[in-house]
Amino acid sequence: MGGDGAVDGLTVTSGAATSVETDAVRLESVRLSAVAHVVDEWAVRATGVLERSRVDPCGGPALAPDAARAAIALARDRLGAVARGAARRATDLGASAAGYERAELLADVGRRIAAGIIGSAAPAFALAAASGASIALGPAWLVSQLVSAVDGRAAVDAALEGLVLERGLPMLSDPAFVSLVRAAADGTDEVIAGLLGSEALFVAGGALEAPENARLLLAAAGVVGLASGGRALRETPVEVRRVDIAPGRDGRPAGIAPPPRGVGDLADRIPSGGADAPQVRIERYAGPDGPRWIVYSAGTKDFGLEPAAQPYDMTSNLHAVAGASSLPLAVDLAAGERAVRDAMSQAGVRPGDELVVVGHSGGGIIAANLAADPDLHVVAAVNLGGPAAQVDTGEVPMLSVTHAEDLVPATGGSGVASASRIDVERSVGAIAPQPGSPVPAHALREYRATAELVDASDDPRLADFRRTLAGFTDGGAAEATLWRAMRVPAASAAGVSAPTGTGP
């Protein structure tokens, strides 16, 4: 497993996530205990040889040479020490297995309780801070809306409502709350149970993680949509158009960009994706075997429940997260991802071309999904604050940057093991939330600052990643293009990127 390191405020981890099969640990404990007995028996036999070799049957001082007896005594002592060490490790292993089992039980209970509380309290959050809660609680908040749409339920947990009213939006940036959200994202099924007051779901839902929850949520949304005629969380076609680039202020011709000097430059080039602004940037570099591309994707801009014009919205996010699920439920390809793929196609990206994909927030999970696509030749991926922990990019290295106070990455859940992912976490400290920015730690501006720290870090894993980037562009300039994506109503969707099911 990879090591950890904290450099310049960055905590860098790599390798697969922690995992414990307690049965295997317990079995090894038993086996090691048997090993201890075997080695102890060797020590006893060595002691026997030593004792007998001391006695000369003919009355001499000793039977065996001193050097031989000294060697046997050393061997006996070492064997005894190994036997005792093995016995101690066997005991430790047994205790560890028991401890892991207790921890898993407690974590599971805590996760379910937390998720249930959030589920039952979701209307309270919605009342207190609708926009913030929609980001913070993600699926949980959306579930509350869905349930309300069906039966008009407005259960309010008075205690939690009071907490939100008392502490306000800064609570959303509390690392402890972020951890709670991460737990809740792994337990949307429990959130649903909390909303519906069903204990049965608490019991049944333990095996499902974030992507599966997202799929269940989308399936629920489909049922609700059919029942109510609503469009909530239902994907639409997307239209992508190229946007002209103005000439650079430093006199560079329009659309010509120098190679990025590092992760900081990559972060700087992610489009803002605001109103009427492009969400996708694509840079074309000349490689030795054909063109190489760096693709940048903006983050979520619309946190509304129903899809409007902006494809970078919660509907797209949820479909992107659900894309990692193995549940046999068909899910449309996220609008944001379709927009990026469409832009890549129009820009001239061909199968087999080498790619680097970069994204912030919802764009981060799009970058991760592209990196995990075996049909694309992605060389590296960068995720800044996206809920991408559950995407296994296989052998494609992915730099995933999160802030301890940012709950958006936490909405993807606790994640899956991925040996090639480098996780970088930084605490940005307390930043006062502003109107329209309920979670300031999620802002691209803050991630750009962290990306600069990544470039300054001497952590060898980050240095390797920077070398991969430098080798990719080989110092050459790029031809850059910008792309603007829009959702279009299904009725007028001829010739545009239509949703495509990704269910197994």
């Binding site: 497993m1 697969a16 996530a17 922690t18 995992s19 414990v20 099969e21 049965d23 295997a24 640990v25 090894e28 090691l32 090993v35 075997v38 080695v39 060797w42 036999r45 060595a46 026997g48 040889v49 007998r52 070799s53 000369d56 049957p57 003919c58 001499g60 001082p61 000793a62 039977l63 065996a64 040479p65 001193d66 050097a67 031989a68 007896r69 060697a71 046997i72 050393l74 061997a75 070492r78 064997l79 020490a81 190994v82 060490g85 093995a86 490790r89 430790d92 292993l93 560890s96 093991a417």
Partner: protein, 140 residues
């Protein structure tokens, strides 16, 4: 007493001209060798058993367990495995030293028996037919 002297015949106590003393010395060497050989074999069996069992005995990794504690467990297992290897080397050293002692005892036994069977100054072609002038070995 050093290792070389152990399990051997102290030449200083043997009168090479004393056939009885030589017989006693040969018998002592034989008895000591007979007593030592089973211990050599015991060591050999123990060492062979250790060598055969050693691979896979102390596993540094447990499938399905990945975290910092697993890494520390691996370190401890490596330490124990190294100690086990040292013990195996020491047993091999002891076995070699004791086998060499057995060979020395065998050589001493053979030498003493040979000396005992050969009359001291008993035969001289130059003095053939003359009166025997030697000292009877059993007279000391």
């Amino acid at each position: 007493m050093d290792g070389e002297a152990a399990a051997g015949v102290d030449d200083a106590t043997v009168d090479v001209t004393d056939p009885f003393g030589l017989e006693v010395a040969a018998t002592l060497a034989a008895r000591r060798r007979e007593a030592l050989l089973p211990e050599v074999f015991a060591l050999r069996v123990l060492r062979a058993e250790l060598a055969e069992t050693r691979p896979g005995l102390l596993r540094e990794r447990i499938d399905g367990w990945r975290d910092a504690a697993a890494d520390r467990f691996g370190d401890r297992m490596r330490d124990l495995a190294a100690a086990l290897d040292e013990a195996a080397r020491e047993l091999a050293d002891a076995e070699r030293l004791m086998a060499e002692a057995c060979e020395r005892l065998a050589a001493e036994e053979a030498s003493a028996r040979h000396a005992a069977a050969t009359p001291h100054d008993a035969v001289s072609t130059a003095g053939a037919g003359t009166a025997w002038a030697g000292t009877a070995p059993w007279t000391g």
